[in-house]
Symmetry: C2
Subunit: 262 residues, 2 copies
């Protein structure tokens, strides 16, 4: 089955029927995929405020109404409790289970946050002629926990997580310009070069994902990463949170290019 060319609603149908249970990378090419954080209403204000104070790490695409499993803007036909291939449940910061759907766990006081993902700006970088090394090397993007504190909000606090892509010196300006146009998916880089300045001791040992080759004449460029909100939620140990499993995203009906104008 060719999921790359398939419309998002159709892919979500296969996911809902649990015929797709793996990562969504590359499916419905050109359409934005989103990170998921589901919290009880009593924690939702603190988390929403956290996203407002840390917009580069947590670019919110949509927040549901309390108790609703449905989105109005980015994927009106999606069911949040079924349309992600794999969910994770964390209780007091500890992973307590993975589920193909969260129908049985759903509560009337849940609020869902859909957060932009760097998959979207990578396709724009490729269009601009910039190689994405972890694609070339068929691995996951390297991610690092930095020494930069997020702005805390209520119960939520923690360090910023960044993703890294090696960029040839003469393409750095272009990479900044392309991603700056897409604030809904982390926007421009947060740091260029000098990993030690943001607390990264060994660029060859990422905290999440895989190490990639940095060639002669290339500079490590760092972007805010969608792992930050999950990492902060875990760090802050709320009683009960549902997230997507890494790489198992919600495929939205919004084209990456359209995100520029939302």
């Amino acid at each position: 089955m060719n999921y790359t060319e398939m419309e998002p609603a159709k892919v979500r149908e296969y996911i809902r029927e649990e015929k797709i249970v793996g990562p969504t990378s590359g499916m419905s090419a050109g359409y934005a995929q989103a990170n998921l954080v589901v919290l009880p209403k009593e924690l939702a204000y603190d988390f929403l405020l956290f996203t407002q104070r840390n917009p580069k790490s947590c670019p919110v695409l949509e927040v549901t109404d309390v108790g609703s499993r449905y989105l109005k803007k980015i994927a009106p036909s999606a069911d949040i409790a079924h349309d992600i291939p794999l969910y994770r449940v964390y209780e007091k910061g500890i992973l307590t289970g993975q589920y193909k759907n969260v129908e049985q766990l759903w509560r009337d006081d849940f609020v869902s946050f859909l957060i932009g993902c760097s998959f979207s700006f990578e396709s724009e970088l490729i269009t601009a002629g910039i190689e994405i090394r972890h694609n070339t090397e068929h691995c996951n993007v390297p991610m690092y926990i930095t020494n930069i504190d997020c702005e805390p909000a209520g119960m939520f606090s923690g360090k910023m997580v960044v993703s890294m892509r090696p960029i040839p010196v003469d393409q750095i300006v272009k990479a900044v310009k392309v991603t700056n146009e897409m604030p809904q998916v982390h926007g421009a880089p947060i740091h260029i070069g000098t990993p030690e300045q943001i607390g990264i001791k060994d660029i060859g040992k990422p905290d999440f994902g895989d190490a990639v080759t940095i060639k002669e004449g290339e500079v490590p460029v760092f972007w805010c990463c969608g792992v930050t909100p999950q990492s902060v939620v875990m760090n802050s140990k709320p009683d009960f949170v549902i997230t997507h499993a890494p790489g198992h995203m919600l495929i939205t009906d919004v084209k990456n290019t359209t995100l520029k104008y939302m």
Copy 2:
């Protein structure tokens, strides 16, 4: 006293001492001024979600911690209960009083929202060589209630309010480009020309502010307006809200030009 050239902290001192009690337009030239909405915590989630769903109408510059009268980012030395020349209190949507400070009314459960203001982009338009008609005519900007529904959030809903500036046809593209660079202060226009299409029956009769001359060869251009959040808050009739009185803003320590990079 020349308040135009004065540093924001110094002007706020005069306001705190109630030596300045009038509108702040033109004071501390080059620095951003902000709209204020203060709500009890129990309403803050709905309002914060409203701003997230309506970012062009409600560009949030900063939200305080619960009970705090102090800002961390945009004006660290300001006291929210004293540093605005004139406050308004609304109870269930009805204006019940105006105050030079709100010290006596302050409660531990208050949350303050500071929202960007079009004063900031007007100075950029002037720098770009675009005349601001209501400045030339020494009156307030004309504002209109449209037929466009804001995205509702919890208890908050209502129509979008827009401000209008007449722009010569050959300067419209420039006006869009300049304001598009400043999403923190309403960003690009929401509508160009054809007022009737957004429910404005008589361009000569604004709902707020003053009518201005539209010359031959000029087109009315409409931007989302900072009156929207106040109008929506009033429309939704919460028990108790404090706002600034129109034109009596918080002068921040952030330069308008810096807002582009926040």
